[in-house]
Symmetry: C2
Subunit: 356 residues, 2 copies
């Protein structure tokens, strides 16, 4: 399994520093807490067949784990709860992934294929299927324009002084924007301008296209005609079409988590954070850069709420990473089941996009 660490280990105690017994205890606590959601006591752990020591010994181990920052207790005399650091260790070193069930596979594939022709449908379907299979919030970021390769640029004359610029990407995504012209162009001039731009930017990513247009702009200003200069300035505007939408499904399920449910302040912060989707987008972007499945736990995600975790995976179009999707849930979500589901969904959606 590839490393899930979005951040390199920051603390001195190295990952391998726990002995076998401590690892078993930590693993048991995390799984217990994920399943039950309540602070877990030494007795419950001692009863487990794979630990098999007395509760007093467990308590001793727990005290050590607490010193190391893997566990904490809500109050003096309560059971222990994993900290973000505890989850981190669990995810990095202890996690055993469970492959998705056949019916889950089928569900993902059905949804992906029904919706693949249209990018927006795809996003909605992806978010929906992640939500319904995990009962947490499913989230899909639109293919990044920066990473997408352009297929074509078109201009349509609207009315005096305004053109509609249309960007068609290789994935079939379409973006458009209304531009204002400094001086009117005739239809044939507009066609020429479009042809010229297409000759420059076809098959480039948006980022590359922008760079290309800028460099041409510098070089050609003197040497080329006014028309081409004008075309380039339009091109510079076109390429900056903003995109990057995020689709969320099932945010209501986030409110079910016990850690949040009773705290109005947290609920508010959460709803607000999800409403402005910027933070979310940043997290998904990090996944996009990493190019492999990422698990963000607590504060790592940058989302205000510290009891939230995000499992995200990039999806590919013709081999290139173009977007990311994932699941947002409480830190105590079932990583062993959800990580493979997210990974599978990303892969399946990538395949569907390739065909669509």
């Amino acid at each position: 399994m590839p490393s899930h660490k979005p951040q390199a280990g920051l603390h001195p105690p190295a990952a391998g520093s726990l002995d076998e017994r401590a690892r078993r205890v930590l693993s048991a606590i995390v799984r217990d807490y994920i399943q039950g959601g309540e602070p877990v006591g030494s007795h419950a752990i001692a009863r487990r067949p794979d630990v098999d020591v007395s509760s007093a010994t467990v308590r001793a181990v727990m005290a050590d784990l607490e010193d190391l920052g893997f566990l904490e207790k809500p109050h003096t005399s309560a059971g222990r709860v994993p900290t973000s650091r505890g989850y981190r260790y669990y995810v990095d070193a202890l996690l055993r992934l469970k492959p998705p069930l056949p019916e889950e596979r089928e569900e993902i594939e059905r949804q992906a294929h029904e919706a693949a022709s249209h990018v927006e449908n795809m996003m909605a379907a992806g978010a929906r299927v992640l939500h319904s299979l995990t009962r947490h919030a499913g989230v899909v970021a639109a293919p990044r324009p920066q990473a997408e390769r352009l297929s074509r640029v078109e201009f349509l004359q609207l009315r005096e002084g305004r053109v509609l610029a249309i960007l068609i990407s290789r994935s079939g995504a379409v973006r458009n924007r209304v531009l204002s012209l400094q001086r009117p162009l005739s239809p044939s001039e507009l066609t020429q301008a479009a042809n010229y731009l297409n000759s420059l930017v076809t098959d480039l990513t948006l980022a590359e296209a922008l760079a290309k247009v800028k460099s041409e702009q510098l070089r050609d200003l003197a040497e080329l005609g006014a028309l081409k200069a004008h075309a380039l300035s339009l091109g510079a505007q076109v390429v900056q079409i903003e995109g990057a939408q995020v689709r969320i499904e099932g945010q209501a399920s986030l409110l079910d988590d016990k850690g949040i449910a009773n705290d109005l302040v947290k609920i508010r912060a959460l709803v607000q954070a999800l409403e402005g989707k910027d933070q979310l987008l940043q997290v998904l972007d990090r996944t996009l850069v990493a190019e492999e499945l990422q698990i963000f736990i607590g504060a790592e995600s940058g989302i205000v709420e510290p009891d939230l975790a995000i499992v995200a995976a990039p999806y590919r179009l013709k081999g290139e990473v173009v977007g990311a999707l994932g699941v947002i849930g409480p830190t105590r979500m079932d990583y062993s089941r959800i990580a493979p589901l997210v990974e599978l969904t990303a892969r399946t959606i990538g395949l569907a996009l390739d065909e669509g």
Copy 2:
């Protein structure tokens, strides 16, 4: 002021049946409750200069109003709280509108003008300004395709067997959709098809355009060439492009209301209801049909949460109603201030769209 009733009065006691004193008391109670948010007692009302009777008399009047269904008490021996019916009467018969402040006007106009060129920006700006001025959730429905008049249809060849259809409306809204062709068309055939369609549907609303295309399809099938038939079948698909988005800003503010804040079940239901925007869209649609400002109180809105009210107004493009926007808040929101704000925002956005 035009009637705000979305439903005709259902109960026998006619609107005018309250005498002057009862109306004053009801009005005072509603305003008091809107301001303070707590059940209001007879003493508080009796102290008001515009009522000026003893608290015992107020209590008697209150008892009558309670029998009529305008008030209720959360429990025996608490103050009274208006029912939906009470708000309804208040809004219909007692409400005194307060014109927006100059700075509110300016804010609305600034936002509307900055964003008018692009429909999506306009929606975002409208929702934002309504949210920021009212501190409740602002909501804007996209111009309805059914009501919008078409400016033009364009086709762009994508790759073998697929075309991108683009619908440009008079308001500058652009919608697109990828269509599959039964048989490939050459570029010139495509242009011809587009020209033919444009000659049919320009300046029609989407609904009219659909009817027109259908009728042409029947008539011309035998008489016209295969190309035109093909064009018509494309046209039929194009016109069915779905749209109708809703933009919400500030849903987090809905959680601040005292009636909801402490009830997790309600919060969940609310978040869920807003996530699927269908219900909201239906409410705004009703406003669109009514063609004037509407106030929906409690259950009238069809939104699950009974303690919510919606103030909505249609906005116009060149005189024709094309969309609706409004504010969602607790039933105890300040209607006298918010209704004029919503109305003004709708009008201002309409004007901005006309120019844009």
